[in-house]
Amino acid sequence: MKKHKSPGRRSDEWILRLYVAGQSPRSAAAARNLEAICEQHLAGRYRIEIIDLLQQPQLARGDQIVAVPTLVRHLPPPMKKIIGDLSNEERVLIGLDLRPRRRRVRMPA
């Protein structure tokens, strides 16, 4: 990861890494879905890095990638991981902490 601060980088910038393996339809779908979600919810304050593990297999170890596609939220902390093609927007939002997890409150009997 780049250490230096790029000028004009916002403190609330989101850094997201999407790990894929080759140009599979699933990888493409994940990238497309991610972009759409970010545009809608994080417009102007996100950066997406797409890492093709077939090209850079050594990067899989650092972020403990097992499944692909895997989306890793590097910033803001804490680190979050979402696996799958990101087709379920609701779950992606929950996974990224962009929407509070729904809690079922049960009243005592």
Binding site: L54, I83, N88
Partner: protein, 490 residues
């Protein structure tokens, strides 16, 4: 599967199943060469049964011989893995540095992962392939891949992907060990045995009567004959040692060379030449009938010829033993100092029979002795008759296979169990000597009789002897005189 891995021809079907030695003591013997080459083997068992160690030993022994390996750990970090086997003298860090070994820690934490939509385990495949290539490994251990089921929720995807992983490893010709935790009704929790069908090994760790016993069983070995017995094994400071039952085959070479009993008059009773080399000798007798002393003579004579000897003492400490033998003029300490005699003392009840047997095997393999004394056999009454009998049989076969003359002392009359053992064991022995103390009188004194001695002429007359400061001395008058002197009676 990474697209970069071209689908080359998988290895042509060899007529003979090639095997890869694990280097695990005894295991390669019972499998006729080791694990099936280029195929996955499932090693399963409960917690603490030694699966991880089995895998690591397989890699370490291979690495030392020049076959690089990859250890994929799903449960412990690289550092933990390195630390865990350091006590066994394995320096994994050094092997990693020399690029003989790669350790890949794969962590999947369910709490950190949100699942949304379809996925596969290509990330794992890529990591495994990358790590395999980084050291040029042709051996891999996956320990314990079932952990993935705890980390990921889509069991259907996992099963399909594991099946694909094992097939992929096989296509690449990598010899794999896959460990699995024992399930309630299946060999492994996730039923991995369905996917790994070439070779399945079950390890077991039981504690009976506060004595722990480890056993190994080969459930399946496709394309290869294998024993279906349970093989006892132990984990000691040098790692795993499996006790092969190469026995029960009776294929030992029979030597016609002879070995002195260490006592000239006893040699004379065996036609002047003593026992056969590589045979087994049983000395039975009541308490204080000079079993230990006669065995010590046998040891001292071997050392005096410059041969290596090992004594397994189950009743006395080495210091007490050598002190007592000094009273009959045998300086065993001298031979210990010279490095010819090894005295290994242990309490018989401290460990299970298997552990004793394994320890004896290790000691014998290290010392490469010409003679071995087990003193006394009767202390092993902890096990059932069958267990003790089987242990003695294995021990005899082990010694015979190495052409070692074995001497076993046995106390009678012992408990009922001990008598059963004597009857069972005596049939395994080539030579059986009975010792008896007869109260003072016309025929009083120490008596020795040869009950049997296969394949040689031997005296059927009982012999009277005495224990003196100069050892076991024959002759009635001498015996009576010495005894009188020793006891202070006339």
């Amino acid at each position: 599967m990474p697209t970069s891995s071209r689908r080359t021809r998988t290895a042509a079907h060899p007529t003979d199943l090639e095997k890869v030695p694990t280097g695990i003591s005894g295991f390669d013997e019972i499998t006729g060469g080791g694990l099936p080459k280029g195929r996955p083997t499932l090693v399963c068992g409960g917690p603490g049964c030694g699966k991880t160690l089995f895998g690591l030993e397989f890699l370490v022994h291979g690495a030392v011989r020049g076959n690089a390996g990859l250890f994929v750990t799903f449960e412990e970090t690289e550092d933990e893995v390195v630390k865990n086997v350091r006590s066994l003298g394995y320096d994994l860090a050094d092997l990693v540095k020399r690029r003989r070994l790669a350790i890949e820690y794969v962590r999947v934490e369910r709490a950190e992962i949100e699942e949304t939509g379809e996925y596969d385990l290509e990330g794992l495949f890529i990591r495994v392939e990358h790590a395999l290539r980084s050291v040029g490994a042709d051996r891999i251990v996956l320990d314990t891949i079932e952990s993935l089921f705890a980390g990921l929720s889509n069991a259907g995807v996992l099963r399909a992907e594991l099946r694909r992983l094992f097939a992929w490893l096989k296509a690449r010709g990598v010899t794999a060990v896959i460990t699995g935790e024992r399930g309630a009704e299946t060999l492994t929790r996730q039923g991995l045995e369905e996917y790994v069908s070439d070779c399945v090994i079950v390890l077991d760790h039981r504690v009976v009567d506060q004595v722990s016993t480890r056993r190994l069983r080969i459930v399946k070995y496709r394309g290869s004959s294998h024993g279906t017995n349970e093989y006892p094994f132990l984990i000691d400071r040098r790692g795993i040692a499996v006790l092969p039952i190469t026995s029960l085959q009776l294929i030992h070479k029979a030597s016609s060379r002879r070995i002195s009993t260490g006592v000239d008059w006893l040699d004379a009773m065996f036609g002047g030449q003593g026992y056969f080399r590589g045979s087994s000798v049983l000395l039975s007798g009541g308490a204080g009938t000079a079993k230990t002393s006669l065995a010590a003579h046998f040891l001292a004579a071997a050392c005096a010829r410059g041969e290596q000897a090992v004594c397994f003492q189950f009743e006395e400490s080495p210091a007490q033993y050598t002190r007592n033998m000094r009273s009959i003029g045998l300086d065993l300490d001298h031979w210990v100092t010279k490095g010819l005699l090894r005295i290994h003392a242990a309490r018989p009840t401290l460990y299970g029979l298997e552990f004793h047997l394994a320890t004896m095997n290790r000691q014998v393999d290290e010392a490469r002795p010409a003679v071995v004394v087990i003193d006394p056999l009767s202390s092993f009454t902890g096990g059932t008759f069958g267990e003790v009998n089987a242990m003695v049989m294995r021990l005899i076969d082990f010694l015979k296979g190495r052409h070692i003359t074995g001497m076993f002392t046995h106390l009678i009359p012992g408990s009922a169990a001990s008598q059963d053992i004597e009857i069972g064991v005596s049939s395994l022995m080539d030579t059986w000597i009975l010792l008896r103390n007869v109260p003072p009188g016309e025929h009083g004194g120490r008596h020795l009789a040869i009950l049997k001695s296969r394949g040689m002429a031997h005296s059927a007359e009982p012999r009277v002897f005495a224990l003196t400061r100069h050892g076991a001395v024959a002759g009635k008058t001498e015996a009576t005189r010495t005894r009188a002197a020793r006891t202070g009676r006339s």
